[in-house]
C-alpha cells in the first residue's frame, strides 16, 4: 500500500482545517450581478440616455444592452469555471467564448446602425478616446472583483481565466456605454468601443496572472517536501 511520506503528512496536518467547497462557477457569477447592473446604468445616469433613443425604441436601447450584459455575465461564468482544476475549457471552447462576445458587439452595432444611423462627423479621435476610456474604466471594478473570485479558486491557466473575465467585464461596460453614446456608425463603435473590450480583456489577463503569482509566492511550489523521501509506491 502506498503511504504518504511523514513530512508531507506533517505539513498538511499543521495546516489542516475543514473547508466548505466553492459554489458552482455559475452560482458565483451571480455575485457579479450588482456590479453588472451598476455598469449597465452608470453612463446613462452620469451623462444621459442616447439622443436617438426614440428612434431605437426600448428594445433597441435597453433590450440589446441587457442582452449584451447577460452575455458578459456568461463569459465571466466561463472564466470562473476555467479557474477550477479539471474543468478548464478546451481550445475550441476558449476560442468560442472569445469569439461570441465579439460577434455580439458586431451584431448589436449593426442592429443599432440599421435602426438609427448616426455618423460621427467631427472630433473622431476625441469622441473615440472618450468612449474608449469611459468604457474601459467602467469595466475595471468588474475586472477587479471577478479576478478576486477567480483567484480564490485555483486557476491553472490564469491568463486564460483572466482574459475571459476581462472580456466579460468589457462586454458589460460597453453594454452600459452604448446606452449613452448615440454614434452608431460601425467604424466608431467597432474601433473605440470594441478596443475598450479588447483592453479590458488584456487587463483581465494581466491582473489574474499577477494575483495568481502572488498566491503562488504565498504557497511557493519549491519549498522541498522531503525531496525523494520514501515514497511507498
Amino acid at each position: 500500500m502506498t503511504i504518504a511520506p511523514a513530512e508531507l503528512r506533517a505539513r498538511i496536518a499543521a495546516d489542516y482545517q475543514p473547508v466548505r467547497p466553492l459554489r458552482s462557477p455559475w452560482a458565483r457569477t451571480l455575485w457579479i450581478l450588482p456590479l453588472a447592473i451598476v455598469a449597465l446604468f452608470a453612463a446613462s445616469i452620469a451623462f444621459n440616455v442616447r439622443q436617438d433613443a426614440t428612434d431605437l425604441g426600448w428594445l433597441g436601447v435597453w433590450g440589446l444592452s441587457i442582452a449584451q450584459s447577460v452575455m458578459g455575465l456568461l463569459v465571466v461564468g466561463a472564466a470562473l469555471r476555467e479557474s477550477i482544476p479539471g474543468r478548464d475549457w478546451s481550445r475550441g471552447g476558449i476560442a468560442l467564448w472569445l469569439a461570441i462576445p465579439i460577434v455580439t458587439v458586431v451584431g448589436v452595432t449593426l442592429t443599432s446602425w440599421e435602426a438609427s444611423p448616426v455618423f460621427l462627423r467631427a472630433g473622431w479621435w476625441l469622441v473615440g478616446g472618450i468612449c474608449f476610456a469611459g468604457s474601459a474604466a467602467t469595466a475595471l471594478p468588474v475586472v477587479a472583483f471577478a479576478s478576486i473570485l477567480a483567484a480564490r479558486a485555483y486557476p491553472t491557466r490564469p491568463a486564460v481565466a483572466g482574459a475571459l473575465l476581462g472580456m466579460g467585464a468589457g462586454l458589460m461596460a460597453d453594454a452600459g456605454w452604448r446606452i449613452f453614446c448615440h454614434f452608431s456608425e460601425p467604424a466608431h463603435v467597432l474601433s473605440a468601443h470594441l478596443a475598450a473590450v479588447v483592453m479590458s480583456t488584456m487587463i483581465g489577463a494581466l491582473v489574474a496572472v499577477r494575483l495568481c503569482g502572488l498566491r503562488g509566492e504565498k504557497h511557493a511550489l519549491h519549498e522541498p517536501v522531503g525531496a525523494g523521501e520514501n515514497h511507498g509506491d
Binding site: M1, T2, I3, A4, P5, L8, R9, R11, I12, A13, D15, Y16, Q17, P18, V19, R20, P21, L22, S24, S83, I84, P85, G86, R87, D88, A153, Y154, T156, G216, H219, L221, H222, P224, V225, G226, A227, G228, E229, H231, D233
Partner: protein
C-alpha cells in the same frame, strides 16, 4: 465506478474535517499521479518530489473540488499544473552549478584559444564561486550584467567586477597549467 464514488466520498470527508481520509486518498491515487509525473519528468526522484508537491497543492486547493464531479480529472489537472510550474521555475532560476566537471561547456571566444574543454572546466572549478557564477552566466549562458546583478541581488558594476576578476583568475589558472 465504485472506486470513483469511494474517492468522491473520501474527498468530501477530507473537506469536511476527517484528516484520516487524506491517507486513504493518497494510497488510492498517488500511484496514478506518480505514473503521470514520471511520464513527464522521466526521472524517478523528480517524479516523487512532484507527487508530494501535487498533494500539497491538492490540499491547498481542496475547497475547489466539487464532489459531484470525479476526483481524478481535478487531481490530474493539479499534477499537470505542478509539473508545468516546476519546469517554468527551473527555466527561470539562475544557474551556476557547483559541479563544473559535469557541465557540457560550449567553449567559445577567449576560452576557445585555451587548451581544451577539460582544462577549462578544471580551471573554472578553482575560480571563487561568486566569480565563477558571474563568468558562467555572462560568457556561457549569455546573460547581461544587468540580469546577473538582478539575479544575485548586487549592483551591476559588482557583477561586471566579479565576471572580469573571474576571467582574470581563469586566465591565470590556465596559464599556470600551460607552464
Amino acid at each position: 465506478m465504485a472506486e470513483d464514488h469511494r474517492l468522491r466520498e473520501l474527498m468530501r470527508e477530507y473537506q469536511s474535517g476527517r484528516f484520516e481520509a487524506f491517507d486513504e486518498i493518497y494510497a488510492s491515487i498517488a500511484p496514478a499521479v506518480r505514473r503521470y509525473l514520471l511520464s513527464q519528468a522521466r526521472d524517478a526522484a523528480k517524479a516523487d518530489d512532484l507527487v508530494q508537491e501535487t498533494f500539497l497543492q491538492m490540499h491547498r486547493a481542496r475547497h475547489t473540488y466539487d464532489p459531484s464531479f470525479p476526483l481524478m480529472p481535478w487531481t490530474m489537472a493539479i499534477a499537470r499544473h505542478v509539473w508545468l510550474m516546476d519546469r517554468r521555475t527551473l527555466s527561470r532560476r539562475p544557474w551556476a552549478p557547483d559541479d563544473v566537471a559535469a557541465m557540457d561547456l560550449p567553449v567559445k571566444a577567449e576560452a576557445a584559444s585555451f587548451a581544451d574543454r577539460v582544462e577549462v572546466r578544471r580551471a573554472l572549478g578553482k575560480v571563487a564561486p561568486a566569480r565563477r557564477a558571474a563568468v558562467i552566466q555572462h560568457h556561457v549562458l549569455g546573460f547581461s550584467f544587468k540580469e546577473i546583478a538582478e539575479r544575485a541581488g548586487i549592483a551591476e558594476t559588482a557583477a561586471k567586477l566579479r565576471s572580469s576578476r573571474g576571467m582574470q583568475q581563469l586566465r591565470a589558472l590556465l596559464k599556470g597549467q600551460d607552464k
